[in-house]
Symmetry: C2
Subunit: 231 residues, 2 copies
DNA sequence: CGATGAATGTCGTCA
DNA sequence: TGACGACGTTCATCG
C-alpha cells in the first residue's frame, strides 16, 4: 500500500464524469490497483476512486506535454471497464509505502440473516399459537423470508427487514399475490416485520391489509440462549 | 489528517457487531473525528469505520488493564448515536499527520438530473408529436419525473432511471394509479425510460401496460449543443 | 459470468 | 431534523 499526500486535481471519466479542483488530498494506492482520493472530512466514501482491478501509468513532463505546474500525471485505468481516473499532481507533500499482507476479513453479527434465524426460533413473538412452516420458502419470484401458521391454522407470509421501507412492502405484496393463487395455501396474510418501519411503509402496508411488527433485536438476542458471545 | 499503519484488531458495536482479527492495517483519522480501517485490497469501502461526528479516546496499559500485547487502545465513539469502534493496537509501524485544508468538492455530470434535462429537451425521442407538459410534476406521493402529451393529446407519465429496476416500475405504477384518479389528466399512460432496463423490470412493466424505452445518454448529449464541455 | 437483494449503506434534497 | 430517492452505489449470494 502506497500513501501519498499531494496537491492535485482529479478527473473521472466512466459511467459519468466528475472533476475535483486543485487541493491537498490523500491518495491511497492498493496492491490490487485500486486508488482512493480522500479529503480530511466526510465519511468513508472517497471524493473519487478507482475500483480494482486497475492499472496505473505515471507520466512526467519530460515524457508528455502536461498542464502548467503539473509535476506528474497518474492515469488509472480499470482493467474490466473503460472507467478512467486521471490525477494531476502539482506538489508531492508525502509519499510512503507499506507491506500490509492479506487481511483475514470481517466477522459480522446482527444482519438480516441473524434476525431471520432469531424470529424463526421465537415465532410466537408474532402472536400466541404461531408455528413455523419454514424459512426461505421458495416461490417462482423469489424466497419468502418466513412462512408460518397462526393460531387458527391460516398461512402467514413474513417479510423481514432491518429497516422497513416501501419497497419491502411491495416485495411482500408480490409474494402474497402469488401465494394466494395456491389453493393449498390461500388465504395467506402478510406480516411486515422490521427493527424500524418508516411511516410511509406503515401506511402502505396497513392500506393493503398487511400487519406491521417492530422487532427488538437485542431483546430477541437476549432470549436466545444459543446466542452466547460470538467474540 | 492522521495516518497510522499498525498491527491491530478492531471491534465495532452499534447497529450490528463486527470483529476484525489481528493484522496490519491502515488507520485514517480525519479532522471531523471519523476513522477508516483499510486493508491493502478491496474497493473503497473500509473493513470497518466510524462516521463523523465522533470522538476518540486513547488508552494506554498504564491507565487501564488491556489484553496481553496491546500497547494502545483507541475508543472511537459516535457523537450522535451509541455506535462505537474499539481498536486494539499491538504494534505501531508508522504514524504521520498532515494538514489538508478544506476540500472544494466534487463536480459531477451525467447523473439522473442531466438525463432528465436532456430528455425534456428531446421529448420527441419518445415518439413523433410528443410535447412536454413539465418536469418534476408534483403529486401527493412525490414528483413524476416528466409529464408529457403524445401526438393524440393523451397524457404520458415518464419515470427516468439510469438503471431500470423493478422498484422503478413500482414507483411509476403508484404515480399512474394516482394520476388516473384525476379526471383532468386521465387516461394517463406510462413510459419507463432508462439507460439500461433489467429483464425482470421490462417484464413487469410490459405486464402492466407500461412502455419501456432505452436511452442513449451519449447520443442525447451529442444532439444537445448547449452541452459543450463542462471542463 | 449476470441477476438479485442487503447494507453499520452514504449522500443530497426538500418539506 | 426527518423522510425520500439516487448512487460511478458496493457487496455477497445464487443460478
Amino acid at each position: 500500500m502506497r500513501l501519498v499526500i499531494a496537491k492535485c486535481s482529479v478527473d473521472y471519466v466512466g459511467r459519468l464524469k466528475a472533476h475535483l479542483p486543485l487541493a491537498v488530498r490523500l491518495l491511497v494506492l492498493k496492491a490490487d490497483g485500486s486508488v482512493l482520493v480522500h479529503s480530511d472530512g466526510g465519511s468513508y466514501k472517497p471524493l473519487n476512486w478507482m475500483s480494482p482491478p486497475a492499472n496505473m501509468r505515471t507520466l512526467s513532463p519530460d515524457d508528455v506535454d502536461l498542464e502548467t505546474g503539473v509535476v506528474e500525471q497518474w492515469i488509472v485505468q480499470s482493467a474490466k471497464t473503460d472507467d478512467r481516473l486521471i490525477i494531476n499532481i502539482y506538489e508531492h507533500i508525502s509519499d510512503s509505502s507499506h507491506d500490509l499482507g492479506v487481511d483475514p476479513g470481517l466477522i459480522k453479527d446482527g444482519v438480516e440473516a441473524d434476525l431471520q434465524r432469531l424470529l424463526a426460533a421465537q415465532i410466537d413473538l408474532l402472536g400466541d399459537g404461531y408455528t413455523l412452516i419454514r424459512r426461505e420458502y421458495f416461490t417462482a419470484i423469489g424466497p419468502v423470508d418466513i412462512l408460518a401458521r397462526d393460531a387458527k391454522g391460516a398461512t402467514v407470509a413474513i417479510e423481514l427487514k432491518r429497516r422497513g421501507d416501501i419497497d419491502g412492502v411491495e416485495q411482500l405484496t408480490r409474494y402474497l399475490e402469488l401465494l394466494n393463487r395456491d389453493p393449498l395455501l390461500a388465504p395467506v396474510r402478510g406480516i411486515f416485520a422490521a427493527q424500524q418501519i418508516k411511516p410511509q411503509a406503515r401506511v402502505l402496508a396497513t392500506d393493503r391489509g398487511i400487519e406491521c411488527k417492530t422487532l427488538d433485536y437485542d431483546a430477541m438476542r437476549g432470549v436466545d440462549d444459543s446466542e452466547t458471545r460470538l467474540f
